[in-house]
Symmetry: C2
Subunit: 325 residues, 2 copies
């Protein structure tokens, strides 16, 4: 095999009978340059005929900026909702000419420096926030934007907060509206979920201090928790998650026919299993499409050096009412 050489813009220039600069001007539609229609079409034809693909590395090196947006995924298990969000975000950013990629895996495996060094992204999205040193290093390396989706607002660069508190507030609102006075909060077992659980819980607290209990994804321990909640006089439970909510339901069921009659449970996420549960699970869902659009416009604005519009929180989060609450 004769080592298939890469096709460069010089090849296109040779074939079209023009200089390399002209090729660049034509293919990038550089404003302020006047190219005759004849040569333009010759260049385009040559490029298409050769299957020319500009080297991203060279372009990035020259311009100092790539069109890649890097999202650092957290190490907790990503489910359907996050997957959905990523897909929508990718679509929205593509509309603005940006390429979205996600890097899964815990930061312990690899220092994050290694990652953005290998990509040279225009922007970095993260769920938790960065240390000062990391932020500094990124700026020094030419990363235009650093955004933390979660974390204390206004620490590093432009930040952007998905309103987790609002989720908890909607849960409590619904249960209180249904007449429940004493609430419980089903906290997730996995400590990595804490960064999401805490703000949600604080949203619930706006309606009175709930009885917080950790509920593993297992019917046995969940039954214990439910029994103690009943003893406390709790009648409505906000669960961190649909999965935690399913565990609560499973626990209530295991207690026998006596307990579950009055116990209301509300989850978060509206996973497919929620509507199929016994009883069908009432849950709080986020409009991932709308959220993705907002995130994308914020990123696009920030890459351009501007600041984006605020998040419209009105219709973003709503309750899907089923039978469990």
């Amino acid at each position: 095999m004769p080592e298939p050489r890469r096709i460069t813009s010089a090849d296109v220039a040779r074939r079209a009978g023009v200089s390399r600069a002209t090729v660049s001007y034509v293919l990038n539609a550089t404003p302020g340059q006047s190219i005759s229609p004849a040569t333009r079409s010759r260049v385009l034809e040559a490029a298409a005929g050769l299957g020319y693909a500009p080297s991203a590395a060279a372009r990035t090196l020259r311009t100092g900026r790539s069109d890649v947006v890097l999202c650092l995924l957290p190490d907790w298990p990503i489910g359907n909702e996050v997957g959905n969000l990523l897909g929508n975000l990718s679509t929205e950013l593509a509309r603005a000419g940006l390429t979205f990629v996600a890097h899964p895996g815990s930061r312990a495996d690899r220092p994050i420096a290694e990652i953005w060094k290998a990509i040279t992204p225009a922007a970095v999205l993260s769920f938790s926030d960065f240390s000062d040193g990391e932020t500094e290093a990124m700026r020094a390396a030419g990363v235009a934007l650093v955004v933390a989706l979660l974390g204390r607002a206004g620490r590093h660069g432009r930040e952007l907060e998905v309103p987790q508190q609002l989720i908890g507030r909607r849960q409590a609102e619904h249960l209180c509206g249904a007449g429940h006075r004493r609430l419980g909060y089903a906290y997730p077992d996995d400590p990595r979920l804490q960064i999401f659980a805490e703000p949600r819980l604080s949203g619930v607290r706006a309606f009175g201090e709930p009885v917080v209990r950790t509920v593993p994804l297992d019917a046995g321990p969940a039954a214990d928790a439910v029994a103690r909640w009943c003893a406390d006089g709790v009648t409505g439970i906000c669960a961190y998650n649909d999965e935690v909510a399913l565990a609560v339901l499973a626990g209530a069921r295991r207690l026998g026919p006596g307990a579950p009659a009055g116990l209301a449970v509300i989850g978060v996420d509206d996973i497919p299993a929620a509507r199929l549960a016994v009883p069908p699970l009432t849950t709080v869902t986020t409009d991932q499409r709308m959220l993705a659009v907002h995130l994308a416009t914020t990123v696009v604005a920030a890459v351009g050096g501007r600041t984006g519009p605020p998040l419209p929180t009105d219709d973003l989060i709503r309750v899907v009412v089923r039978e469990s609450a």
Copy 2:
């Protein structure tokens, strides 16, 4: 703001009082070069002190090869299992010095050419296979490896098949072992899942032709399907998915106390909701860790121009027995 200039290896060289080449040799530990311990430590110290981060773009441009492995995610909803697989894959590839990134979103949004052009990856993983033109274009652009996780074996480059058929076989094996003679297959509603559903179904067929019915993730239509299965004399159902299996269970429950007694259901994936279902769902699970290790070694081998070991299929897929079958 005085436009924070990027720190290059020239800065490090200046600070350490050596040439730029020496810096490169030290930092890359280039074999065959002899550097005195004194200068080595001076260089390392200078690099650390300045917070030097080599430009990935320049390095990729020079070497013609980046250390990024790009995974093109399909447009169907990715769940917990895929998320898990990606995480493990990232960890394993990091061990070999490769950076793993995933690109979500349908190909309709953006031609895939746009994506690898913007990344210049060393390898591309995909779930479905590519067209001939796409493969050709990638090779021409210097992408070392193109792998399709699914699709007809031996078409383009090195391929790699996750044994979906084996999943279906294990399901049918379990049900037949429990004495069920007439099986049904619960096919997913979403047409995008066909590329997974077909091989799984063909695995079930190894144990006799099942009665195939599409089951939406809704209790009502699922109840219809279950009623017709019962009329057909079907006693055991292999579901495409845990979610589809939950729909089948919900359908059976809706039919009233008469039907579900004898109906066995087995799913795939072991999602968290499976163990919390009524009854707890028997399911088939894939060892994502082992699969990730195998994928990673295959990718690493192929990037190095070699061919990887075959997939050990013995312990990879096993049945988690609960109460539903």
